[in-house]
Subunit: 286 residues, 3 copies
């Protein structure tokens, strides 16, 4: 039994996802196909990287992840298969994999070369399914592709640090279902650069001097009226390990979320300033 996941920008209305699943089951009737998402914003590689990074690891080792975002073959956009962290990824070489592969060295990367003369505008169905089923049956990557050493990297997902090591200049990576704003600044980076110093996070015209571990930390212990905190803003290291600007109990369709209420959009800057002064301008929180 093989696990095959799907991450695409196909949406769930069209026939694309159904056709892909049918094709997999026709080749491997006992496969377990799991949708990670089909709601990637069309052609958005950064979103794809964030989502695949935060979900692949929870699957069993050996799982094959098909990633179908901006996957039409061209001179500029090859198809690759990657073995990494005991998982397999079948995807275009457009930077999608770099968010994972920048931290964990791939075991093997091949440029897929099983494309015959057929011109395809639906490569996930015509190529990726075939490659995934080949891997699921225990096939070696080098049979379906030429081994390569490099993959394209995505520049925008990396925050910068200034020369004095007093400032991290990050940005908005993703807006989630609750309208919470996820930045490209990881807890790890925050701790390595911050080294316990006081700090001020600036997002749009708002700032934060504390980062929480749970959303409901802002209501303190034994609260009498937890609902009065609905709509309060906070910074948190989310379950994926990234700095997130959130609204407590937000709802994009009614009261709004951090993205709409604080006016934060994809790629907007998020700045963290660290201080060593003994008397900072602001009052540090406990």
């Amino acid at each position: 039994m093989s696990f095959i996941t799907l991450t695409t920008d196909f949406g769930t209305k069209d026939h694309f996802v159904g056709a892909v699943k049918g094709a997999i089951y026709s080749e491997l009737s006992d496969a377990k196909i799991v949708d990670i998402t089909h709601e990637i914003s069309p052609f958005n590689i950064t979103e794809t990287g964030y989502i695949i990074k935060n979900s692949y690891k929870s699957f069993p080792e050996g799982t094959i992840h098909i990633i179908g975002v901006d996957s039409e073959l061209s001179a500029d956009n090859k198809h690759i298969a990657i073995e990494l962290d005991n998982h397999f990824f079948v995807c275009p070489d457009n930077g999608i994999i770099s968010m994972i592969a920048s931290e964990i060295q791939p075991t093997k990367i091949v440029e897929i070369n099983i494309h015959d003369r057929t011109v395809s505008s639906f490569p996930v169905l015509d190529i990726f399914v075939q490659v995934a089923c080949f891997i699921a049956r225990g096939g070696n990557l080098t049979v379906i592709g030429k081994e390569i050493q490099e993959f394209k990297t995505l520049v925008e997902i990396q925050p910068k640090v200034n020369q004095k090591i007093s400032q991290i200049i990050g940005g908005v990576l993703y807006i989630d279902n609750y309208g919470n704003v996820i930045t490209n600044i990881s807890r790890k980076m925050f701790q390595e650069i911050g080294k316990g110093r006081n700090f001020k996070i600036t997002a749009s015209r708002y700032f934060f001097t504390k980062v929480h571990d749970k959303y409901n930390e802002i209501i303190g212990k034994n609260p009498k009226e937890p609902r009065q905190f609905d709509g309060h803003k906070l910074a948190i290291f989310n379950s994926a390990g990234y700095l997130e600007i959130a609204i407590y109990r937000s709802n994009l369709n009614t009261v709004g979320g951090a993205s709409t209420l604080l006016g934060l959009a994809y790629r907007d800057p998020i700045i963290i300033d660290f201080f060593t002064e003994s008397k900072p301008e602001y009052t540090p929180l406990s």
Copy 2:
């Protein structure tokens, strides 16, 4: 083989659902995971109760239902596991279960106490999956929690009856995919209070004196032009057994549905008056 269902407000774009499924398969590779929905309005407990009530029963006995809506642990919001009607529910103790448990007595309720020191902002992944897999492997609830007798109840889902037993004062519980407006008044309550009397249902500035069993009853038998009834309003006992105000063949994205056309929103009052007069002001329908 175990059936595990998921009902959450995670949406289907983020990595949350994929991560949860991967974690379940990593523990129980032959589990059958079924999405009930991930489109609950964020933090909406009433919606969750309505949906889980109307879907759990069709699953095989022994199915484990993970409910992840407003599930962050706090002094005010414990995690519980419930055995009821030969099904298992793993959820927060925030009233979600009360719509089912008010009609069917739980066999056992435990307050989950396997939380270690780890602070978690993603308890469905970190706690509920673990509990569900434990139950799936045949584990006893009392091993992962302390038995309790009470669960929180949801007040707003109960309609009221006046002293003269001539009026039910209910409200809007849920708006469905077609814009149809589902009330908290069950067919059972309607029949027990009404006892066959004539009645008038008032919803916004509209009223109804007949309740149908099928949507197309309004077009009568052997109609020549069924489409001329598109857009007509009607009251029906829906397949879940609740009084519903509907528009025949509605479409929220084009012509609108009952919610938009009749101006009915979540929590709006729905009143039923019963009459014993021999000559009511209105003409009773057959």
Copy 3:
């Protein structure tokens, strides 16, 4: 093990899909249930036909396809089960199947007659599941229905050809997730009528004199700046074999897609004129 697919207009928020899956698993615990889509526009039969046509074939032979769109039983809307192309379809007789069955002759059609006295407003749950599970267990169609020879056909999906065989008058059949506009004109029809002549496709106030096979053909070979073509319009035979008017790398939520940018909606006319003149008014592309 049986494959059962679901194609409905239920949406994914309500309890309908969960209830149907639970009912199938309760009868056939080892069934493989696959969602084709639940996002059909309410009651839209043309959309349903397009989607089921383009997905059913990729599933293993013997797959049972439940189609739940506009399926309430009436004198005018019978329930049928069809064997066709080694697949089974359980659906209302409202034209849904005609897009497939107009090209491939059904092996057998029965009018389902297992409805007992129970009036049902949820026939997919109460009838279609029962029929599908019966077929999955190897049951013969004639046991659950009366064999019939005819099914309802959908007129609007057929383009017309003028008397001089110089013009195809088609229309918009479907708008996909990227806002691309799919017409009812197939590549096969285009080639049979066009016979290699030059042509001009008119869609709203735009026209096209070339039809591509891949979206990125418009950027030519070895492009230096592929992104400068984002937002360009093109005509393509899509992976389903239909003429499609597309925007290169479109996004309905941001820059828009062909439907919004070119102002094309469901049922709008799409005209193809074929030319035999040696000197057409326009310059044919290579």
